[in-house]
Symmetry: C2
Subunit: 396 residues, 2 copies
Amino acid sequence: MSDRLARVTLMRVAEPGDAMMGRLVAAHGPQGAVARVREGRPEPELAGWFADSLNRESAGSRHERLTARLGRMFASWAARLETADPVRDLAEGERRGARLVVPGDSEWPTQLDDLGESRPHALWLHGEADLRFSCLRSVAVVGSRAATPYGTHVAAEFGAGLSERGWAVISGGAYGIDGAVHRGALAGETPTVVVLACGADVAYPSAHHSLFAAVRSQGVLVSECPMGATPTRPRFLIRNRLIAALSRGTVVIEAAVRSGALNTAGHAVSLNRHLAAVPGPVTSETSAGCHRLIRQGRATCVTTPEEMIELVGAMGGDLAPEPRGPVLPRDQLSPEIRRVLEAVPARTGTGPATVAVAAGVDLDTVLSCLGALAAAGYVERVPRGWRLRPGGSPDR
Amino acid sequence: MSDRLARVTLMRVAEPGDAMMGRLVAAHGPQGAVARVREGRPEPELAGWFADSLNRESAGSRHERLTARLGRMFASWAARLETADPVRDLAEGERRGARLVVPGDSEWPTQLDDLGESRPHALWLHGEADLRFSCLRSVAVVGSRAATPYGTHVAAEFGAGLSERGWAVISGGAYGIDGAVHRGALAGETPTVVVLACGADVAYPSAHHSLFAAVRSQGVLVSECPMGATPTRPRFLIRNRLIAALSRGTVVIEAAVRSGALNTAGHAVSLNRHLAAVPGPVTSETSAGCHRLIRQGRATCVTTPEEMIELVGAMGGDLAPEPRGPVLPRDQLSPEIRRVLEAVPARTGTGPATVAVAAGVDLDTVLSCLGALAAAGYVERVPRGWRLRPGGSPDR
């Protein structure tokens, strides 16, 4: 069984974000994990780790209970494994126009590694945009489903403002803030990313059918669930960690004090991503969650898309730093980076795949070279891809 | 000439907040300052201090210029001194029902000492409430004159909420936020304080005539200007430092990015008072100044009167700390404090003057003893004055 088929199998076998399965995969690889589920025998070290993660248990009854619990978990995985048909899943997904990406693929967003053992085994993507490329400069925008007209207005403004400035909007495709921000983003030219809590082929909510179609042609739908999976409450919550992890920072627009959006905010903080919140009238309960985040000092108060960009842009270096003008002379660039630079056009932007062909290097290398060249001020991102930064390479 | 008459004279001679006159008074006392203006000869050390405060001047031309400037300043003071008639001013003010308080009086709010050389020489007060007592637990609430319906609604809620909880509201009596917060405060039982930028006998704005009448009967009007003085733009700005200095903290409700309310906010910060701002819709320009203060980390985001009280109450100790339950056993109290405690009634509150008579000590001593007793958890403030704290003195 190949790595890809094993990962498609794991999507069927374990619930998204199941850290115990993540542990098994980290120890034995996807194929090894599937084999161990098939054997049905939990290893002792797994029980030990389980005990650590559940330190509420009293020492006396711990061993028996944990062994029983692990046994039930393996039994439930094994039952699902019986009915899993990864070859059919893969064919069915591709027949529907989706593509599977797994860790190591050039489109895999490596920032998901920050999720540790809850990292997805694989993702189904459906849409024209390249997920990794789109997320290089991206902001998660989340908020209440029961948004007010004020909230949906602000969300649409943020969506359009971020997209116009080349920042991809990541959200959950739900009613209210999510829908408004995606629609706003579609008004710009930057891809927008919908992270679903169901299969990539399931339009939920169904009234967003045409929104999802527009995102497929100008962005990308993302799911860590197998095709056909229905959205459940736990899946919504566990999905939120992907929204936080894919982006450089999360901004909450309207959230009551008990809102799912605050769950995403919590993920952003624990992943060391930036967190921001948009204030609103103090008379509005749907802004109370935002105000609490600001008061607690957990979120920065932002009032415009520019302020959000200032916040996430300031992080600099690690993903796709802001151009600051050339800092490295051209002759200090590595030969590979110089080859990529030669292949970047001067006026109209071009995609990384075209640059890869022209430079004669692989796509992954192109993406990392473009990042370095942008940091050094030689190239810049435009809606259609990359181009030389005007005045950015005076010694060319 | 008495200290009081000298101070009334100085109110006529120098503009409010004139730090050069403050310097003169600090060096020679009010009578000495008047005498020196009459002599019309600036001292050399004054020129030196003047030079320090204007260090933009080039060294070469400095001495001549400063001497000329000081001369003009003394001449203008002397001209005003010619027409000043402090005996008439004092009689006229008292005839109108106002009272003069000067540093050292029991009603003088000693927190004004934080203003250093711009401390007022004296204050005209007009109204039933005791200024010093009212300001022990007080919050300044300021904001835009051109307030939105949202802003005036929130201001009225803050005024009523603070007043109901025993916190005096201090503001400037202007249109918009000021007026709304005073009206809200009048709905509670706690005095509200209007700090005017004109004479205590001048109703400005005149449409607030009846508001000022209500404040006189349930609070107090305050002015550092002589009777009859008209409001000018510099007087509004210099007045704002009194609003900030009298209170434990300032909260800004609606302010555009260029609003006079931000001037008060600046005074609050430089006086080490708490500063807070109320958020509003990001689509509203009159909330932009509040959001900027929050974003800059200069102001805490507050959304309710309770949150404002939490902020200023947490400062503790120095003015009128929150009751925290008795911390000192009764037999460790000084004999004087114990005498005051005996005179405080158990149920209905009574004013400090009554306590002073019953305890046989002067009003000033009563005020400081009550502060100490409140800090130790024995007594508490209620709308009508002070009473024993229920359960606050188990060993009585």
